[in-house]
Subunit: 386 residues, 2 copies
């Protein structure tokens, strides 16, 4: 008789990082980055820097400013080789050779687990560089400097990275915590209007599921946001990042091992719409439509009252979001099944009981989803009076 036995393993891993809000990060009087780079036992801290080409183009003095910043601190920090420029947007995630080019530099310059890889760019560039940093030596210190609203208030402060493979978004990637995140508001001045607006959708999302106060503040400041008021945007990003981080901290499932995705309110339809539009829709633009759809569904199903629904739809309209899109049709329904598969068999969708109060359901009435779709379309064609 052979012995059958079992050992049970169970342990916790702690992750910790700071999100620092600043301006003019590469001004030599700004010592935030220098301090972060000096947090090790090395005499000289090595750093690789990777920059989003869109950011570089919009900020022609950025590269010399970075070089000057490193020179200014003498031997304590050392920029390794040339600053690596990679294309901004999905192009950064569609080309595996870019990951290889970062790993090449890690090898060439002897970057180790106590050196730094700094990424400056939008969410796409951060996702790609973050992946390379996570798999080099099983994780090199990775500092993110997000340059879009979405990456400063959502993707950049999270723990996911990834690239697209086989034509599929985020097919390859992993969970990894950044070493630190630095949100420099200066970058946002050069965003085009669509990217400025797009990131606001995630703030509305997190306000709707968690924080009535924040929602009302966004309502108050909606015109200022639409007019690109920087101070208001600063505040929006800070509060939104704070809520996202709170959620990740308290969810008990930061690495998404379970089958609930509360931060994905409005996202089942958004993911499908992004795909149906061949990614001509920005993520935040698709999320706005997804929010409109699931809020309307919540109202039709009797969970959310009508005045609340109008507030939600009106806020998004004031901010300039299109709530309808040619691809918002029956095919979107397939997104429900894809989301269910993604979650591993059981569907879990966040809906609204009230503004600031999300709750989860495990079934969606497809007829009613189609009705909600129709309603959003009529609202957006201004056929519905409020």
């Amino acid at each position: 008789m052979k012995k059958e036995r079992t050992l049970e393993q169970k342990f916790q891993v702690s992750f910790q990082f700071k999100v620092l809000f600043t301006h003019q990060i590469f001004d030599v009087d700004n010592t935030i980055l220098h301090k972060l780079l000096s947090e090790n036992a090395m005499n000289t801290s090595k750093a690789l820097v990777v920059v989003d080409s869109g950011v570089k183009d919009a900020h022609p003095t950025l590269l010399p400013a970075i070089e000057n910043y490193f020179d200014n601190f003498g031997k304590s920090i050392a920029l390794q080789g040339d600053i690596l420029e990679i294309p901004g947007g999905e192009a950064a995630k569609n080309d595996e050779a870019l990951i290889k080019s970062i790993l090449d530099k890690v090898n060439r310059f002897g970057i180790d687990r106590h050196s730094y890889i700094i990424a400056i760019g939008g969410g796409a560039v951060l996702d790609a560089v973050g992946f390379a940093a996570a798999i080099a030596h099983r994780g090199v210190r990775h500092i993110r400097i997000p340059t879009t609203v979405l990456s400063q208030n959502d993707s950049g402060i999270g723990v996911k990275n990834g690239i697209n493979s086989y034509g599929k978004k985020n097919f390859t990637g992993c969970f990894a915590s950044p070493y630190a995140v630095i949100n420099d508001a200066t970058f946002l001045t050069t965003l085009d209007d669509r990217d400025w607006r797009s990131g606001i959708a995630e703030a509305i999302k997190v306000a709707l599921i968690m924080d009535l106060d924040f929602f009302e503040w966004i309502e108050t400041e909606a015109d200022a946001l639409a007019n690109r008021n920087m101070e208001v945007m600063d505040e929006l990003i800070y509060r939104c990042a704070d809520l996202h981080m709170q959620h990740i901290r308290t969810s008990g499932d930061a690495f998404e091992q379970g089958s609930s995705r509360p931060l994905d309110f409005g996202h089942w339809a958004a993911h499908k719409l992004e795909q149906l539009s061949h990614f001509s829709l920005r993520h935040g633009e698709a999320v706005a439509i997804g929010i409109a759809l699931d809020s309307t569904y919540s109202q039709l199903k009797g969970y959310l009252n009508q005045p609340s629904l109008y507030r939600i739809l009106n806020l998004m309209t004031t901010l300039g979001f299109e709530l309808h899109h040619p691809e918002l049709n029956d095919q979107v329904i397939q997104g429900l099944e894809e989301f269910r598969e993604h979650l591993g068999g059981q569907l879990t969708i966040m809906l609204l009981n009230a503004i600031g109060k999300g709750f989860e359901v495990h079934e969606m009435d497809e007829e009613l989803v189609l009705e909600a779709m129709n309603y959003v379309q009529q609202y957006s064609a201004q056929k519905i009076e409020m």
Copy 2:
């Protein structure tokens, strides 16, 4: 005046898995694997299987047995495509195309985060397949079926994976917990003597730093182990895996974010020796030499008494380990500096106060290391009487 603010993020992620000890895992009466594969909300659980070519060659009925096992359980579990065979040993980790071939199958067969990737093989195959599983969809359920002593009692029950790039061991990889590990003792019968012995070095290592009782048990059973007694090996692996897992669980640093590596007793020299021998030395063979060196150093430095040192050296000799190697020369000393860099600037080395009691130092006396090297060499040439 611009506002400078900071948000602090801190959270913990829980990891949990079982290590199941069994025999004849693909016997249709053995339901362990079927149970693991059924732990999701799917009607049919999809699984990819990857096998070490060395294991397949030594077990010619393995592949048909796996296919038969899946067939036997009907629609509840489904093997996806052909069983993928990859070369055993370091070859598995030297060819990036193998990772790609696993990801190709993940894509082709719609493997998602709730499907399974099963790897059957030695530590090298598990490291490579584990890496692919960790980065596909940010982590597909990964079941490890280790087939060597080392992988059953050490590497397979840990949380590291990786492949070799740029000629460097484990250059690319990440930390990821397996979904489950199944140690099937049946595989060990076909190991060659070097691989049988090699894994025993890790058991001696963990006994020396943590558990006098276990060390004395190994002493008692040394002849049985040398004569390939299977029941004794079963027990050795179980106790060694248990100690390793305990250590990982209680270290507070399972993902090695700090700069202490207690489980790497004897490993600074071992890593250098593996490299100097162009990997003609097995990992465990190099670890045995590293243990001899650091135990001798502990004695010369006055931490460990001489009878204890003799017990250690004698045990390894009885088990058939060579404690000297042509590459054990002055160059090994460089391993100290490389280990220091690997730890991020501060050297931390485990030494012995007594058998079963490791402690850490932050400095090594290089003269004394050379003396220890000389001593081990003389001992091994039987110039030292005991």
